[in-house]
Every structure is written in structure tokens, then in C-alpha cells.
Amino acid sequence: MSTASLTVLYFAWVKEKVGLGTETVSPPASVVTVSDLIDWLARRSPGHAAAFADRKLIKAAVDQVHAPLSSELGGAREVAFFPPVTGG
């Protein structure tokens, strides 16, 4: 909840829309949940805005554990955004 730096990762079409695979950001204290982080990231570029336009399509992992968008970031060091997985 501070301005500690956070690694954000993007995968699959989220990565393609954002235009990069990873970035290090320092969100303001007002960014408390994963959903808050999306709101804040979406303002960084038209690519970010496009990637997060329909967040029903977006899944998140906080420190490599699946997390609902309502989760609090807490002291997370790594947050990832991606579409539903399609391996196997």
C-alpha cells in the first residue's frame, strides 16, 4: 500500500495488447486491491487500456498464486495478468 516497487507481468493476448511482457511500477497508496491496480495500470497507455477494457476476461496471480481481482495486494512483489489458461 506504499510506493514500493512491484513487478507486473503480462501473458498471452494481455501481453500483446499492453505491448510488453513485464514492467516495474510503483503504484500510489490508494491502490489496495488487484482491481485497483488494474484501474491504475489502464491509464498508463492506450495498450494498457485496451488490455484491461473488459476485465471479465482477465485473471490475476499475486506472487504466483491465482487471486481474485478483489484480493488485496498486501506486500506482494509480483502481480501477473493473463487470460484464462488453455494448457494441457
Binding site: A61, V85, T86
Partner: protein
């Protein structure tokens, strides 16, 4: 015991299964599942677009971590002698195996159930994404709702 491999190189399912059997020669039953890359999209070759190649992206670290979690969960639910999961990443050609899951147990019922469980959870939890190349371009495979339903039935 468990082996988990996420790898760019092609693998030989038969050879992997044989060595899995050999190192579990005292297990009465071995259930396996092989997921293969199909050369068409959708439900059938007749109606679907031809797929010429596939790229499998993954979340390094989390992919291996999730597979370990799945195997740990399965081992807690059923008495498994051994487990093997191999998942490809990178470029794949039609017909190539994408995933292999194998489970060795004393009783075959547990082997089938645990192997099905592993695949159902892998399909909805392991961070891999498929991109298919067709004549009209490349596009990301969409998640199937049926996979979510199948995974949900294992929830306790």
C-alpha cells in the same frame, strides 16, 4: 515421488511411460493421459480451420509451481506411488504430444481418478496459453467452459 517437467523439447510419450513403468514395477496399475496437438480447430476436422502450428506460452516459475501443487493435492487425496507430468512450451507441430500425465498406484481406481483430477486441474490452473497458427493468421485459444465445469467437480 513425483517428476514435473516443463520443456521446450519434444518428448517421446512411449519412452517416458516405459521408464515410468520400470521405476514403478511394484505398482499394479499405471494410468496415463496424453494430450496431442490437433491439426484443426473446434469440434471436428471437417468443420474446423486447419491449424499448421502452435505456440505454447507459460508463466515461468508459476507453471512449475502450480504443477507441483496439483501433484501435492492429488497425493493428499489418493495413495499414489508415483506421478509424472510433462508439459511442452514453445513451438509445436500437429500430432505432437503437448502434455503427459502418469500415475502409479496399487489399485487401478485410484490411478484413473488421480490422473483425471490432475488433468482437470492442470487445464484450469496451470498457467499455459496456446496460440494457434492457421491460414488466416494466429490467434489465442479460448478457454472452454466445459473445462471449468470439469475442474469444479473436484472442489471439496
Amino acid at each position: 515421488m513425483a517428476t514435473i517437467r516443463v520443456q521446450r523439447e519434444a518428448f517421446d510419450p512411449g519412452a517416458e511411460i516405459n521408464s515410468f513403468c520400470a521405476r514403478n514395477s511394484t505398482s499394479g496399475g499405471i494410468a496415463t493421459f496424453i494430450g496431442q496437438m490437433r491439426d484443426f480447430r473446434g469440434e471436428s476436422r471437417a468443420t474446423g480451420e486447419t491449424v499448421s502450428a502452435m505456440t505454447l506460452e507459460h508463466y515461468p516459475g508459476m507453471a512449475e509451481g502450480q504443477l507441483s501443487e496439483l501433484v501435492k493435492e492429488a497425493s493428499g487425496r489418493w495413495p499414489l506411488d508415483d506421478t509424472l507430468v510433462i508439459h511442452r512450451i514453445g513451438s509445436l507441430m500437429p500430432g505432437e504430444p503437448i502434455v503427459l500425465a502418469a500415475v502409479a498406484t496399487a489399485h487401478r481406481g485410484d490411478a484413473f481418478t488421480a490422473c483425471a483430477f490432475l488433468m482437470d486441474w492442470l487445464k484450469t490452473r496451470a498457467p499455459f496459453w496456446k496460440k494457434e497458427a492457421t491460414e488466416t493468421g494466429a490467434s489465442w485459444v479460448e478457454a472452454r467452459e466445459a473445462d471449468e465445469d470439469q475442474a469444479a467437480k473436484w472442489t471439496r
